[in-house]
């Protein structure tokens, strides 16, 4: 897990490229907004699902896959690696590992959000 911290928060070249190749001048801002809305919603839903008895692991994995997809699109390398690591965890430990990793996940999302907004703005 510590390896993830050596990864870049955002691959700025990739992000600039997707924004540059798009048609709209507001792509950066719109992507930042979409990422912010979606990640807030996903973290909220994960918290709710983790509090169920038993926690709904399949649904949580579905949400993490979506988060990982968004991270890949944006070039959010650190977030993407962190989520991939979580998804690889075995069945028994998944929810325990996720609970303990949730603060790092939220931090990676916030850092990504800040970098995207800095580039988009």
């Amino acid at each position: 897990m510590s390896d993830n911290k050596t990864l870049r928060i955002l691959d700025k070249t990739h992000f600039r490229r997707i924004v540059g190749e798009s048609h709209s001048k507001r792509t950066g801002i719109r992507l930042a907004d979409a990422f912010s809305t979606q990640s807030t919603q996903i973290i909220g839903d994960i918290n709710t699902l983790l509090n169920l008895d038993p926690p709904s692991e399949a649904d949580i994995r579905g949400l993490l896959h979506r988060l990982q997809g968004s991270a890949e699109i944006l070039g959010a390398s650190r977030l993407s690696a962190l989520v991939l690591h979580l998804l690889k965890d075995d069945q028994d430990n998944f929810c325990t590992v996720l609970r303990s990793t949730l603060p790092s996940l939220v931090k990676a999302i916030d850092e990504t959000q800040a970098e995207i907004q800095a580039l988009a703005g």
Binding site: I18, S22, H23, A34, G69, I73
Partner: protein, 210 residues
């Protein structure tokens, strides 16, 4: 039975993906002058939209919160007659076989860059246009063939004689073969369905067109 709609321009595209970032990128990538995009975040929403709106093309994610993109693809093909392509994170060849079997016009693996997306969509739209033109050509051919059959039957002519007769009628009046053929077939249909007492009279149909 498939639902039929009139093709439109710009291309109307339905995007079905639960990832808002992907949806935003697609919306920002495609030129609004060439494409009108409608978003659906799950299967239920997508099918409800297809019930009320016409789409030229659909881009589907494979895994959705309430089902699979394959289920939507099946409905698009059987009920709505809408061509589709997939954009998905699944890069497993075995699992990619299903969308191909369902008749997908493309299979793109995420993350996809705007340039790749535009090329893929333009290729798919060109293929759709090609299929439409092909269908139109088959329909035209079929209508003229039907009219020719009616002429041959009515006037006891061979195929070549019937076609010559049809051309002879069209040319001086500056009418297209298809236009006259459509009238002959339509008139014949009315006579056949209404079971008229009087027999179908080709000369009268042509006279009405003169």
């Amino acid at each position: 039975m498939t639902k039929s709609h009139t093709p439109s321009s710009p291309h109307r595209i339905l995007v079905v993906d639960d990832d808002q970032v992907q949806c935003t990128l697609i919306c920002c990538t495609l030129d609004p002058a060439a494409y009108t995009i409608t978003l659906a975040y799950d299967k239920q929403q997508a099918l409800a939209l297809c019930d009320t709106q016409y789409f030229d093309f659909a881009i589907l994610d494979y895994e959705l919160p309430d089902g699979s993109g394959a289920d939507i693809a099946q409905a698009l093909r059987r009920t709505y007659n809408i061509p589709f392509a997939f954009i998905t994170m699944i890069d497993d060849r075995q699992r990619a076989r299903r969308p191909i079997e369902l008749g997908a016009l493309g299979y793109m693996i995420k993350p996809i860059t705007p340039k790749q997306l535009v090329i893929a969509i333009e290729t798919a739209c060109a293929e759709i246009e090609h299929r439409r033109n092909l269908k139109k050509a088959v329909d035209v051919h079929g209508t003229i063939g039907l009219a020719l059959g009616i002429i041959m039957n009515q006037a006891c002519l061979s195929k070549n004689e019937g076609l010559a007769q049809l051309r002879k009628f069209c040319q001086p009046r500056n009418l297209s073969l298809l236009f006259v053929a459509e009238h002959i077939v339509a008139a014949h249909d009315i006579f056949s369905h209404q079971k008229q007492q009087k027999p179908f009279n080709l000369a009268k149909v042509l006279e009405a067109l003169s």
